[in-house]
Amino acid sequence: MLVPITWLREYVDIEVPVELLAERLTLAGLEVAHLRYIGLPQATVPGLVMPRSDHLVWERDKLLLGRIVEVKAHPNADRLVMALVEYGGGELEQCVTGAPNLFEYKDQGEISPPLWCALALEGATVWDGHSDKPRRATLKGRELRGIYNKSMVCSEKELGISDEHEGVILMDHDERFVAGMALADVLGDVLLDIEFTPNLARCLSMVGVAREVAAILGTEMRYPAYDFLAEGAPIAEQVAIDIREPALNPRFTLTLLRDTKVRQSPFWLRHRLKLIGQRPRNNIVDVTNYITFELGQPLHAFDYDKLCQRAGGLPTIITRLPQPGEQLETLDGEARALGAETILVADTAGALSLGGVIGGGETEISAETQNVLLESAAWNNISIRKTLREQKVHTEASARFSRGVHPSQAILGCQRGIELMRQLGGGTIASGVLDNYPAPPPAPTVALPIARVRQLLGMEVALADAAAVLRRLEFEVAIEGDVMLATAPDFRLDISADAVVGQADLIEEIARIIGYDQIPDTIMADEMPPQRENTAVLTEERIRDILAAQGLYEVINYRFTSRESEAQLLPAGAPMPAADSYVEIANPAASERNVLRRTLLGNMLENVVNNGRYQASQQLFEIGKVYLGGGALLPQEPQRLGIFLTGARAQPWWQEESPAPPMDFYDLKGVLENVLAALHIEDFRYERGTQPSLHPGRSADLLVAGERIGSFGEIHPQVAARFKLTAAPALYGEFAVAPLMRQQRRLHKVAALPTRPAVLEDIALIVRADMPAGAVEAVIRQAGGRLLKEVTLFDVYMGEPIPPGKKSLAYALTFQDDARTLTDKNAAKIRKKIIGAARHRLNAELRS
């Protein structure tokens, strides 16, 4: 909300610079996002850092309040006139201007009542009114169609007030005006752009902000006058109210102004509305808007005669829920179907407006309106919120009612509004206010011991100081011993009747007005809970480090995907997860992000494809949740580890003659085994892969302590082809993290370093080509016994001279005994045993 400082000053004296006021408001919870200066210079406040404003500062001796005495025709131009402007000391300045809004005064003699304008004298700097971009211009004397001219009557655009450049500023007469006053003292302003958190509903008005200012600065609040001159017939004889849903419409008030004139509002009112971004319409509608912003109490004006016509007599205003199928055409021209919970203002003939939200078109104020019925009501904020959601309409009224306006304010708005209408449009106000307020809510009184304030804030606060703060905020405070009994003022809805919550509400008020900077910084004296490490987090971080150390980069992806995207990860014919096993988003950001992922693969494939545009060799990993729905209210959210490798094993380099070969299954297996080794997980094995997204012949399942915890291998060729990842094998593994955490050994034994020399032997065995190397190694290890320390496969060979259907596996064997030095003879004996076992169990032959 934009708050002009000139408007705010009507209700509270502000002795500090506006920049400092903005800072104080911000610290107290009313965030001033921006200051917009109109004509006035930006002040520097010591210790306060602010963005520099680039606005036009009005020179006090060159931009003046002028009185247009007379407007004369230009002798040489029809489209120009000459305004004779008085600017103090009886001097007259002649300004040549093309402002269309001066033409009506042309050759009409002396203007009365006085017409005031913004006069720029020679040498004044203003904005160039003809430039699309902000450009400063300095006035210089020159001939305009034969008449010398050195000054200017300014438009709003030229002064930086608004973009308006159709005519010049013409102000109605005001007693305070003196020709030659600095314009800065008349129209100079600073607009505070304040952002309100939802708890500050009471502040959504000038009076609401002024109350905070008064409390913060410790000054007095000046409320506007609420009395009105009522000389007409009693209102009760002219209209009736029937509230059918008091829970939704706790209060409804009406006043009536007869024989008034609908016309343009005076300059001051139009100017204020425009400053805060509202479009002036006519004096009646403008007053309803003005009061909405002044008091925070939205009003609605009806054409009383139209209501009488509809009723065929005296109207009765009814507030009620809609009948099935009921419709209403609102002011914005929308024909609205009304939901069952939308509270309506109606009469006996049907709906008139959406209560607290927007009026209907039929009974709105028109240029011909003579008699105005003014509504000022209170609405349940939740009900209004439901209407807003259903009708998708937002107005200044609904912005306030949906956050909560206390019913006590309705009568004030009614009185202030009708009197202002009378002053601006004339007419006679009916006697009395028709006020239907079935159940005024009690004002909560909170008992707050000062000890509670001190304890919660950790600060010494004197009882008298705390009570004074609450009183500045217009609480009524009685003191009994060390306890404050504070009754909330009638404009606040945010103070709870709950004893403990109410205390917190008050302590917040005390703290924010005293200032949070007054609370000391302390170290918690409270009991420290037992410290337990979070093993899951530590394990995850360990895995991240292991993978990064192997040259992999961590990615973090959206957890959103779609069923269609996940279907792309499966070869034709593979079954999709059941539909209800996905967590589905009701209001997705995009249709391709309408469920939560069940695998990390989709995101990682996307990463690899995206990065593949400029980086052929990639090594990525992600640790993150997948979401497995189905059955329970909430899905399971297991943490998964995804690893993706593709491209050359090494990057090209000038010393390598040929490019490195692409990574394959075994690279991924190596990364995985490093993870297992670093976690000291020894009880693991592989089985042929069962994950359908992977190549069935080139993938494996990992079993840790007998539990199948994931699969890895080449992406299924059909899937890889869909993503155009065919240049090199695309290698992917996905593993459950929790079993890795459970199975890791966090305290492992370290073996003593060997003191005896090792004996090294090579052995090459010829076996059937389809014999798994793992089986051969198992036989070697078993036969080798405890003295066989290492088995390293260093060659796999098929082809001449190995017979067809066979392959040769060559191993380097390391024999070592911790207790004695092995001789070649000892080693030869074990070697022989190994060969025997291989021959016997694998039908292997020794390659000579």
Partner: protein, 344 residues
């Protein structure tokens, strides 16, 4: 006979002076100092001398032998040092040629900031408590003092699932309730935890806002937790995270689940508080929302709010990472462009 010694010396030294390699050295040594060399030959002639001259002659040949050996070693050292110098010169490489590209690997910037947070908070006695992403409306809102239709629900655009009772958490705060219920032993035990995790909001994805982002929430509950403790704790965090003399300021704010509520600003660490583009010329950067745990929230966590109190705070690691590294676009975080990731 003495002439023959002098002649030999002269000849040997002359020959040695013209030698430039190891082969020459070996040959020279064999010729003069070897078993069958010239010096040995002189020793062999001793027997043929008159007795009276033998001792003197022998002494002189010995001296010659010593002299030649020394000359040889000197020459050998010279030749070796010359060769080494030549080898070093010939072995020079172009040190400006590109290095072999080793794979470096890296941890995601978001994770890095989380680690920094977790370490600092662990030092201050706050352990990690992990909570769920897919939450019940009740935990995300209602139990946090945001009943249905509460105006503050508008502050967060929520992703709902097709079951209206279930949503994607809009903040890590529902973890407060879960932590209190899991660790509070029915409202009888103090708690100090941080709750890191992914949160989701239905927003337009732009350079400044994302539909998913991480948060770190902190929660302390005890019998005597004060607002001054919150300030002291946050100030200590700021010192450890930003700089030992980081200034902190607090602004009143509103969160339904804390009261009083404050926003926390830290003095802009890029301009030192003088005002710059990043801090929008205010000298301050917003780093956290915080406050005293609302009595309703304590109740919903199982604590009696007239006996127990607590504070909570929430921070956005991505934002802090962006500020620290001058990252202009939040979409970089989940874009996973290696050209971005490789810069960490």
């Amino acid at each position: 006979m003495s002439q023959s010694i002098d002649a030999l010396r002269e000849a040997a030294l002359a020959a040695l002076g013209s030698i430039h390699d190891n082969d020459g050295l070996s040959a020279w040594r064999a010729q003069y100092l070897g078993r069958r060399g010239a010096v040995s030959g002189l020793f062999g002639t001793i027997g043929s001398l008159p007795k009276a001259e033998r001792a003197i002659f022998g002494k002189r040949v010995n001296a010659l032998q010593g002299e030649l050996r020394q000359a040889f070693e000197g020459r050998e050292a010279l030749i070796q040092s010359q060769r080494l110098a030549r080898e070093l010169e010939e072995g020079e490489i172009d040190i400006s040629l590109p290095a072999q590209p080793r794979r470096r690997g890296g941890i995601h910037p978001s994770t890095r900031t989380h680690r920094e947070f977790q370490q600092i908070w662990a030092e201050m006695g706050f352990q990690v408590f992990q909570s769920r992403d897919v939450e019940e409306d009740e935990f995300n809102f209602t139990l946090l003092n945001l009943p249905p239709h509460h105006p503050a629900r508008d502050m967060q655009d929520t992703f709902y699932t097709t079951d209206p009772r279930v949503l994607l958490r809009t903040h890590t705060s529902p973890g407060q309730i879960r932590a209190m219920r899991a660790l509070g032993a029915g409202g009888s035990k103090p708690i100090r935890v941080i709750l890191p995790g992914m949160c989701y909001r239905q927003e337009q994805v732009t350079a400044r806002s994302e539909i998913q982002f991480t948060q770190v929430e902190g929660l302390a509950v005890g019998r005597n937790i004060r607002m001054s403790d919150l300030k002291g704790t946050i100030a200590e965090f700021a010192k450890r995270m930003y700089s030992p003399d980081a200034r902190v300021r607090y602004r009143a704010s509103y969160f339904p689940f804390t009261e009083p509520s404050m926003e926390v600003d830290v003095e802009c660490f890029l301009c030192g508080g003088a005002g710059c583009r990043v801090c929008k010329y205010t000298g301050w950067l917003e780093i956290a929302g915080s406050g005293m745990v609302h009595p309703e929230v304590l109740r919903n966590g199982g604590y009696d709010p007239s006996e127990w109190s607590g504070f909570a705070f929430g921070m956005g690691p991505e934002r802090i990472t962006m500020l620290k590294h001058g990252i202009q676009d939040i979409r970089y975080f989940w874009g996973n462009d290696l050209r971005f990731l490789q810069q960490f």
